[in-house]
Every structure is written in C-alpha cells, then in structure tokens.
C-alpha cells in the first residue's frame, strides 16, 4: 500500500526548488526557484518561448520535470511514488484553448470528473456544478454544448469546471489570449472574483492591468530563468532589470 503523504495547508501552496526541464537537448527551464503562498495571486509574464507554460505545466506534472523539487502544500509531487492523479485533482487548470469536452453538455463537462474522480453522487455533483455555473454567470447555459458558446463563455465554463473539483489552487495559462478583445473582460472579472475570495492562483498572462490590480506578486521570466520578481505595482512601474524593462516597454 502507498502511504498517503499528508497535505499541509499551512505550508506554501507551491514551492519550486531548482527546477530544470529539458525537451531533448533544449533546456527550457534553467533552475527555477519560486513559491506561491496560500491565498496569493502570482502572475507570470515574459516573452514567447521563455518557459512560462512549461513551468505552469510542471506544477501539476502535465510536463515531467527533468530535475528539481516541486512541493505542493507539503507534498512533494516530484516524488515518483506520489499519486499524480490525486495531486492534479486538487489543482485546477485553465488552458488558453479552453479544452472543454465538445461531446458533453456544459453541465456534464462540470460533473464528469466530480463523479468519476471525486466519487461524488450525481445529485451532489450537479449541485456543485450549478453553484459554479452561477458564479461565472452562466447558470442558464447548462444544457448547451460548448460549440454553441462564445469563446468567453467557454472559458468561463472551463473555469467553473476546474472549480467544481473544489481545488486548493488554480493554474491559468494565458486564459484570455485566445479571446476576442470584447470578451476578455468577462473572464477577467470571474478571475478577479476568485482572487477576492482568497483562491490561490498562478496566472500566466499578458494582461498587465490584471497583474497590477489583482496580483500579489509578479514574476518575469526570460530564457528559462526568473529574471525579476516582486510586487506587481513596483515591478511594472520601476523594473530593475534591463530585460524586464525591454519587455515591458514593448507590452505596456
């Protein structure tokens, strides 16, 4: 029998130590150290190809780290013996491309993992799903198929789907980058609400306004390393590092 590692909610939500990741010979993460405290909103920014998505995906082991340690709420998830499905069920993830299940209705998208993974009864799963759909403002669309929703609605369903697993934290990989500009606001509103409820969040984004307003910490990555991190307002207003300055002058 596998011993269950104890979840420690007083420990850091995410603690990454000396993380390296290679794709073949290509070193994409070159020794990342960083942590996210409970209830913190950490925004990760940086140029394309700097390794932001790879870092995020290592945190729920959608990518296998090559070396280093990742500890989530006191559980070392890089331990080969850890039950990775269990780890993932506590970490919600939202993708740039939504990745809703197109063959299932909105409601079923939200209940299937609750029932199959969380082992909730159907009634309970439906209740949780409806609560979360209401939270993202889509209570009236539970019978729709994803294809019949706008991009912004799909992304809000995707957030509700992740929330329905009652995760301890949420990872967002450029959640608004695939959306038409007029739909971005609705999704950011939902994320802002989540943050104000105290959800721990790690957000890869190009929305500097969101980072400044909601983020507790901003991490700037370039070339597989963290170049600079700190209070978003400070970093955005007065970047210390030359590469940060160059990047921000382009996006701001």
């Amino acid at each position: 029998m596998m011993t269950e590692p104890a979840i420690d909610r007083s420990a850091a939500a995410i603690d990454v130590q000396d993380l390296h990741k290679y794709f073949g010979d290509n070193e994409v993460l070159k020794g990342i150290d960083f942590h996210v405290d409970q209830g913190q909103v950490v925004c990760v920014v940086g140029p394309s190809g700097s390794g932001k998505s790879t870092l995020l995906r290592c945190v729920n082991r959608l990518e296998e780290p090559t070396s280093g340690r990742i500890v989530v709420e006191g559980v070392e998830i890089t331990d080969p013996d850890v039950d990775v499905d269990k780890v993932r069920s506590r970490i919600g993830m939202v993708f740039q491309q939504f990745n809703l299940f197109p063959h299932l209705t909105v409601l079923r998208n939200l209940t299937i993992a609750q029932q199959r993974v969380r082992r909730r009864s159907k009634d309970e799963a439906v209740e949780v799903a409806r609560t979360n759909l209401a939270k993202v403002g889509l209570a009236d669309r539970e019978d729709a198929y994803p294809a019949h929703l706008s991009g912004g609605q799909q992304q809000r369903v995707a957030i509700a789907r992740a929330l329905s697993m009652s995760p301890d934290m949420m990872l967002f990989d450029e959640p608004t980058s695939a959306l038409d500009p007029e739909l971005v606001g609705d999704v950011l509103d939902v994320m802002r609400d989540l943050a104000s409820e105290g959800m721990t969040m790690m957000v890869v984004t190009h929305e500097m306004g969101f980072a400044r307003e909601v983020g507790h910490k901003l991490v700037f990555m370039d070339g597989g390393v963290i170049v600079e991190e700190g209070d978003p307002r400070k970093v955005l207003a007065d970047p210390q590092h030359e590469r940060t300055q160059a990047f921000l002058s382009k996006v701001l």
Binding site: L62, R88, I91, H103, Y145
Partner: protein, 264 residues
C-alpha cells in the same frame, strides 16, 4: 443576340436533360421486358422463396454480420490501443497482426479457420459452430481494418482533451474511456459504417464451411434457389435484401452524424 450567362446555363442544362431522357427511353425500348422478367423476376420463384428468405437467410446474414462486427470492433479497439502503447512489444504484435489480417483475402481466413484449425489442433473445431467461424473470421479481418481507423480517430482528437481530462485528476484509462474514445468514434463513424457494410457482404463467405439449411445466409440461399429453379430470380431477390440492410443503415448513420455535428 447575346444571351445572359444564366440563360445560357439554363439552356445547356436543358440539353443535358433531353439527351439523358432520350438515352433512357432508347434503352427501355430496346430491352425485351418479357424475357427479362422471366429470367430475373419470376413471381412463382419469388413466392416460393418466402418466408424462408426472411426468417432464415436475412436473419442469418444480420446475425453473422452483427457478431463479426461486434467482435471486430472490440478487437480493433484493443489493437488500436496496443498500436498507440508506449510498450514496444504491444506495438509490434499489433502491427504484425494488423498487416497479416488486412492483407489476407477474407476467403482465405474463412478457409484457414474451417479447415486449418482441425488440422493444426487434431480433433478441435472453432467453438460455436458456424456462428463461431463467421464471428471469428469477420472479426479478425474487420478488426484489423478497424484498428487503423480507430487509431487514426484517437490521434485526431486534440491533445488538449487528454490534458484537460488529466488535469481534472482522471487516470489515463479513465480519460481514454470517457473523453477521448467517444470523440474518436464520432470522427470515424463514416469509415466504420463502410466496414460494417463490407462485412455484411463478406458474411456470405461462410459458404466454405458447407452450410446446413437452417444456417444459410442470403447469398447461399439465393444460389440454392437459382440452382433448383434454373432461374436468376433468387439472386435478384437476395440482392435487393442486401440493400434492405445497407441502405437504412446508411440513413441511420447519416442522422447520427448530423446530430453529432450539431453538438460540435
């Protein structure tokens, strides 16, 4: 006088229809209908064929095909998953199996199962008698074909689907069963129907085992009728009955596709 393009198109289409109509009429006039009817549509022979052609032959064709297709589908799914496995030997075995049974004519498989098995394992037959042989033979041939179709279908499901399912804590198997495979089957519904229609016709190859009267399917039944009546009517009737199976099938599948399309 200059004609507008639309008028010109209408006139040219009118000419095409007229030529077609003349051709059809000419053929119909040239045909000796009395002779045709005697040879291919003899009502006495037809009357004699019923009801056995339905209660025995049509029923057996449907049962043979359904059993062979079901077994083939399961086998094809297993082979497809083996082909996609990260375990080398699974991939090799599946590839060898698929290439073997895709390449062999179905008739050869029927003969091998009927006559080869008793030689290879003295005193043993394929279990289940006639039905066992059809199921196994059609399943092996159909499964080998469907394996490649199913594999392509699974690979056509975007990678993000598996990732989203895994990120919710589903195991690889659970994600395959609940998320990836259902979507794959929607994608490959048309080629699978094709395979089912091919198997419907291939089920006639079971004649090689030498069928008892109660085990005859459509083709065998038609040939027996033809031999005993010295008339082609038997084949025409069973030919139409094949269409009675395959055409509604095609319609049902088209409906299913349309429904899946709406959910897309």
């Amino acid at each position: 006088m200059a004609l507008s393009p639309r008028k010109r198109a209408r006139i040219s289409r009118g000419i095409q229809y007229a030529v077609l109509a003349v051709l059809v009429v000419a053929i119909l006039l040239a045909v000796d209908f009395g002779e045709l009817k005697r040879a291919f549509w003899n009502t006495e022979v037809i009357a004699e064929m019923f009801p056995d052609v339905l209660t025995v032959a049509l029923k057996n064709t449907i049962i043979y095909t359904a059993c062979g297709f079901s077994f083939g589908l399961v086998l094809g799914l297993v082979l497809a998953l083996m082909r996609l496995s990260s375990v080398g030997p699974y991939r090799w075995v599946a590839t060898g199996f698929i290439e073997l049974f895709r390449g062999l004519p179905a008739l050869v498989v029927f003969i091998a199962l009927t006559f080869g098995i008793p030689l290879a394992f003295p005193g043993r037959l394929v279990p289940g008698g006639t039905l066992g042989v059809v199921t196994l033979a059609l399943g092996l041939v159909g499964g080998a074909y469907m394996a490649e179709t199913i594999r392509a279908g699974i690979q056509a499901v975007p990678k993000g689907q598996m990732e989203a399912a895994r990120s919710l804590g589903m195991s690889h198997t659970r994600a395959m069963v609940s998320i990836v495979i259902p979507q794959a089957f929607r994608i490959i519904l048309p080629p699978l129907t094709n395979e089912l229609i091919l198997l419907t016709k291939d089920s006639s190859l079971i004649y090689v085992v030498g069928l008892a009267a109660g085990a005859q399917e459509l083709t065998k039944f038609g040939r027996e009728t033809m031999n005993s009546t010295n008339n082609m009517t038997g084949l025409v009737v069973v030919g139409l009955l094949y269409l009675v199976i395959t055409v509604p099938l095609a319609i049902v599948v088209r409906r299913m596709e349309a429904r899946a399309e709406r959910a897309r």
